[in-house]
């Protein structure tokens, strides 16, 4: 159950960043990037199917748990290889590694619950339906919708 982003809805308020920091003891795993004045893009772990961070981790602290790329902090030695192995730069090492855990233990990740613009969701069907509807409207009427 990864988090899907609809960046055309993102308003760049950084609420997700703050919410993530709040529930992870001050260490956030979301970064909202401003792409000029065109868009704001929340960047966080993709929970890749073939996760290169898990391939680089020698101690077994990072592993695949179903769709989730999970992290067992007690096995981490803080070597920093995972941080360098992530193509999206969303694993941090700060003595020990930390990354998005999809808010393990919560029903829904806190960034999704917090986002006031509904740009984040865990529902693949809804996210994909919205994208398809938008594409169809563009095809039918043209221009911005």
């Amino acid at each position: 159950m990864p988090v899907y982003v609809d960046i055309s809805r993102c308003i760049g308020c950084r609420s997700c960043e703050v919410a993530c920091k709040r529930v992870h003891g001050g260490k956030g795993h979301v970064n909202v990037h401003m792409a000029g004045d065109r868009a704001s893009v929340p960047i966080f772990c993709h929970h890749c199917e073939e996760a290169t961070c898990t391939m680089a981790c020698f101690s077994g602290a990072l592993y695949k748990d179903g769709e989730r790329t999970a992290f067992a902090v007690e096995k981490c030695t803080g070597c920093g290889l995972c941080r360098l192995a992530c193509p999206f730069g969303v694993v941090w090492t700060d003595k020990l590694a930390h990354k998005c855990d999809l808010c393990q233990g919560r029903e829904t990740p806190t960034c999704v619950v917090t986002c006031p613009a509904n740009a984040l969701s865990t529902d693949f069907e809804a996210a994909s339906k919205r994208a398809r509807t938008r594409a169809a409207l563009v095809a039918a009427y043209g221009g911005r919708v």
Binding site: F58, A85, F88, G89
Partner: protein, 139 residues
């Protein structure tokens, strides 16, 4: 006492992180990092066990032996120039990824780019995709 194989050490600070006695001292400046292994009489082998490069081994205590220190130049990011990692660490990541991933159209050039620039590239890519989607029907 700890013996270091300088050809295998990645310069990652794993040993210094796991050492319970602060016998492995780290120092990092803007463009260099160094690791200094103090003479240690402990029977503990945590550093040996948790070395990703298998560079450490325990040898009998010898007071005449010098304390090893290794210094690594940090690699500069290909985009912003910030120093972000040691070369052996990046080489190890290059080697640890499977062949089919290495055949990707972008190759493995991203390894030589710092994590901050990697996030920026991803944000730019997503933005371009969205803008393209909007303008496709109305060029």
């Amino acid at each position: 006492m700890i013996k270091v194989d300088k050809n295998l050490c990645l310069g990652c600070f794993s040993c210094s992180n796991v050492c319970p006695n602060q016998n492995i001292v780290r120092e990092e400046t803007e463009d260099k990092r160094s690791i200094h292994w103090k003479k240690c009489k402990e029977e503990c082998d945590l550093c040996v066990e948790f070395c990703p490069g298998k560079a450490l081994s325990l040898v009998p205590f010898d007071p005449a032996c010098e304390e090893p220190t290794l210094t690594f130049d940090l690699v500069a990011c290909k985009i912003c120039g910030a120093r972000y990692a040691t070369e052996p660490m990046l080489r190890r990541i290059e080697a640890s990824l499977p062949r089919e991933l290495q055949k990707d159209s972008t190759g493995l050039a991203w390894i030589w780019v710092c994590p901050v620039c990697r996030r920026k590239i991803e944000a730019e890519r997503a933005t371009k995709q969205m803008v393209l989607g909007r303008s496709r029907a109305n060029p």
